[in-house]
Amino acid sequence: MVAPATLRVVRCGGSTLHGARAVFSADSKYLLCASGDFVKMYSVATEETLRLMGGHADLVTGIQLNPHNHMQLYSSSLDGSIKLWDFMDGIPIKTFTVGSKLLALYTLASSEDSVFVVIPKSGERDKFQLVSVKLTKAAGQDVEAKELSVVLDGVDASPKCIAFGREGEYVASVKEVNLQVYFFKQKQLNRFSVSAMKTKSGNNCFTCIACHPTEDCIATGHANGKIRLWRNFYHKKEYTFSTLHWHHDTVMDLAFSIEGTSLLSGGVESVLVLWHNESDCQKDFLPRLGSAIEYISMSSDGALCCTLHTDNRITIINSNLRFSKSIQGLIKSPGVKTGLVVDPRTKALVLNGEPGHLQFYCLQSDQQLFSLDIVQRQYIHQAGLNQADLVKVAFSAQGKWLATVEEREEVADPELQLKLWFYDEETQSFKLNTRINMPHEDHITDMCFRDMDELEDDSLILVTAGRDCVFKVWVMVEDTDPEAQQSVSWSCDFVGSYHNYQATNCCFSEDGSLLAVSFEETITVWDSVTWDLKCTFCYPPGKVRNICFGRLTCSKYLIGATDYGFLCCWNLLSCALEWSAHLNVLVLQPDPLSEHIAAVSWLSKESSLFVFKPNEPRPVYIQRNLCKEKIRLAAFVPRDEPEMISSEKYLWLRRSQLFFLTDMQELMTLSTKSLEERLTPSSKQLAVEESLPVTPFSVLLGKHRRQQSQEDTDLGKRVLHNKREQDSPAVRELLHTPAHVLPSASFLCPIFINSLLISKENKSAEEVADEVEMESEKTQEDSDEERDVTEMEQEDTSPMELLGEMTCKLSKSQEKELRKIRKMDYSWISAF
């Protein structure tokens, strides 16, 4: 690189998945999701992220498979472009520039060269229209697509509000209380509306729509939890509808099964409801999916269904409504109250996950390591309920102990619980050790362990600061009762207060000898052995917002930030103010491995980052305009091995990496690497089924059948007859014997499989060579990504033919094999 690397703010992991419905690849092996500016491809079998397709400059709002080529994917974005991807290789094929913001994308099998998008109506605010875009076949990567024709006017911006019916004969759209159906052939537009009156049962607005794949039936979801099934909508007056009602809150999404026999619906309750035969009485539930269901999508073979949740999780569900897998990155919780904490054991980022859970998020793999249930109560997904949530988390230095605080806001007094968890080596998880009800009279504002690496066990101390004007010191005590199950428990050792001010922050010095507790405007320093008040610091006016001790060579300094916009540094030896700076600091985060301290300030509607060492008031590094949103939380995550950083300016990033969470709950980090370096394409070789099996049974028998059909064509009818006769005894005997007298399946399996196989010794060397060649071809494809897709398909069909030729040569040996099978003694069957 020519210029020294510049520090860039990089979004990492867990960008919102809410752009659009997820799409299954045609063989249901991969799942494609819009994730922020990217399109992510997950493996359905292993849940891992296989591809990250980036190129859009803004949020991706819609993804659809190309109906004419199932290896290609269209994606639309707010940046006004539609991209066509080859998702197996993760390369963009074409970019169509439309010009205006695209809010949703639909494709139809019947329309040859056009897709449908929702765009804002020009000149009018908050009005949207559905237009079809003609995708020109012009050569070149970037193509302008300006041929727009308006299909429907006055549609909703949400992608859930438009659906195409029965092979694209009509399009239905809902907005507020109106439903409009447009028939393409007849060019007829029918409008229906439900009563807008806000009844007792909530409002009647439409929220989502789905069309029956084979019949003329439209299902609409409403904000009051009802589902309506519309029929006969050809007639403006004589239309009918029936109502299904189970949801108590807004129906978030609807989806018909592939055959159309059942309807899936989901909502805030986080229950997936399966309605059979569109009747109210037959329904199945899959409850407790974790959080509200945002989108439901079905795979093309109907075997899988996937739900996207509001907390950024994807759940894959079997067709028989069994939970199968869950793909989860960083789970978005409504408010990260715990702050960003780093687990010393796994180096995972720990923060609020599902309600009442603590998530351990692995930054390297963008995966959730595990989710620890802290509250251990059933969470009720209902708006307006006051439920206990996790508010504070602290780890001891080596991650052996975990302290959590949960609270439930009550009108009179909050319900508080302090829990201490012990890391059990055997089960490799945290185990509840002590539960303390109402540790403080009022909210707990801060909590910390005494961080002492060497003296972990006997000197472990936990300090909690509360709004009830005291801080409490908790210590481990040995249980005297020999019959008690555990040998240690925690109890309160000391209660300290200062002039009846609320305790707001607490912090231990690096060696654990001093405890700093801030009481509103004053910082008090206590001896951690005798619990005597040593000295106080104050920088009026303004209450103390953050405090921290310096580390390593700067351990004699205490840093504090006030909400009056001052950052102060006191010398603990002279008990005097060393320096102060005018800075509105929101976050103060010391690096555990170096002297550096990061301060994030909020100035004139932008966040800025200042990195400094306590011993000098001049910052080591300043990054203005870090992002436009407020940053509330930050954490230094130690690197596994120190990174090589060329520039002296960024040396503070050598040993640990700074992560921060914005108000919008996006996790960001600072990186010196350029975009290309970060986005190295994964070298995984992906295989996609070229010809799609129709049913699972055909997956089993497909190859065999195809061989036979080849033989049919090659050898004519006589051979076919022979073949059938040869083939039949073994298989027929197998199929005609009652199941209860058959030997175990594992015993029969080899016989059955053998009857299907081509015997080994006759495998020609030619074929082996062919296989090798095929493999090399694939690797070639990998390196040469520009290769045309159609060409690849042609090549891929060739081995089938080759195989066919082979089998006709092998028929004699097969005969022998089958005869052998027939000779096998089945006389035992007659004994029954």
Partner: protein, 520 residues
Amino acid sequence: MATYKPLVVQAIPKLGERITQDTLYWRGYKTPVQIKEFGAVNKIDFSPVPPYNYAVTASSRIHIYGRYSQEPIKTFSRFKDAAYCATYRDDGNLLVAGTEEGSIHLFDISGRAPLRQFDGHTKPVHVVGFLSDKYRIFSGGDDYSSNLWDIPSATEIVSYSEHTDYVRCGCASKVNADVFITGSYDHTVKLFDARMKSSVMTIEHGQPVESVLLFPSGGLLVSAGGRYVKVWDVLKGGQLLVSLKNHHKTVTCLCLSSSGQRLLSGSLDRHVKIYSTTSYKVVHSFNYATSILSLALSPEDETIVVGMTNGVINVKHRKPEERKEKSQKKRQPAYRTYVKGRTYMPKQEDFCVGKPAKRVLRKYDKLLKSFQSSKALDAVLEPPIRLYTPEVTVAVMQELHRRGTLRSALAGRDEKQINLLLTFVARRVIEPRFTPVLVIVADMITDIYQPVVGQSAIVDRQFLRLQEAIGKEIDYQEELLEVLGMMDTLFAAFTKKRAADLERNKSNGLTETIETNMSN
């Protein structure tokens, strides 16, 4: 996908007495039997052989009671004046007792007249006992002497006049037939060896010694006098091992449990305290109606007999071991069906289908799972749960409140159910652990059923009871606050004084160190 999480019932640690193995053991006695004697009971002694009769010495009589008899099965009453310290010999055949006039009588259990009479003491004899060789008797009298007697010849072997006050207690070693100890009001315990002319060891107790005891091993000696019970190590030359001060009046009697693991002490403060002999902590205590003079424990701790100053003996028998046998056993399926298939070992080619573990949910959990609030509340208002585990009822109420359905669950109930609810609330609302939740419940009930007040006499009465309970609680809390205020002022005064004391001590210490430095 998460499974349903059952309701967590908050277990609140119970304050007050902790239930230990000891409390369970020592509580296992039936209600006591009281027997009235003629005077203060100065000695109770169990026969060491079955059927473990016990001799009670009170006034001028010795009564022998059978284990379960309330009437004496035998009485020795040929004393001119008070008798003291009737003690069985190891074989249970002979009984010896001292008298007020200074003579010692030896009885055969089956006879009536004394077999022997030993004269030599000039003052009342309060303590007599057999040495462990069975042929000698030791005694201690108010004439300050301790004597040793030969039974066959009825003669005095040796007399020690080392005590300087009344000798009131004594004990013979079980290990060595020549060793016995006596305790005296001169604050000492002396150890005598019959082969020596004088005492072997003198232990200074510090208070008039009321009772002494030797451990079966002979190595440890326990003395009781004043408010103290002291344990001495004899083998270390009479070193004080531990001093126990758990009574607030004079300790009058000591006794060991049959296992030797527990030491019992009775006192004029009406308490019997039981100590562990390993930690010397009080593990249990009994209290009685009046001051205790004597105490005995039968072998296997079957019976505790306590004699008191008002002449009442209190007899407690151990409850028979509860046999865990349920008469009405639920008919189980036959063993054959039960084990069917359990013993089958899967062969290699067998395909095993695992059985998912079945989770059993309580009834209220099932109802809560399916969001049936009213029914869940009904389920926990059923008698067994409501009466014995009210915390479950309250936990369900709290959960319903958390879900915001408590009001609808409480509403729409008939007279009987309201009555039930109100009874529960009125009874439990004053319990601190339930108060926060039940106050809300009571509030809601009064809110919901306000319009129907006056329609049912039963419900009205319950409302009044609730009001009364809450009123009482408020008064009580006010009183407590007053007490707290008073205590605060006291404490404030106290701490100031103590701080001043400390300061003075500190200054003294400082001057002292300075002085020592000077002298150095």
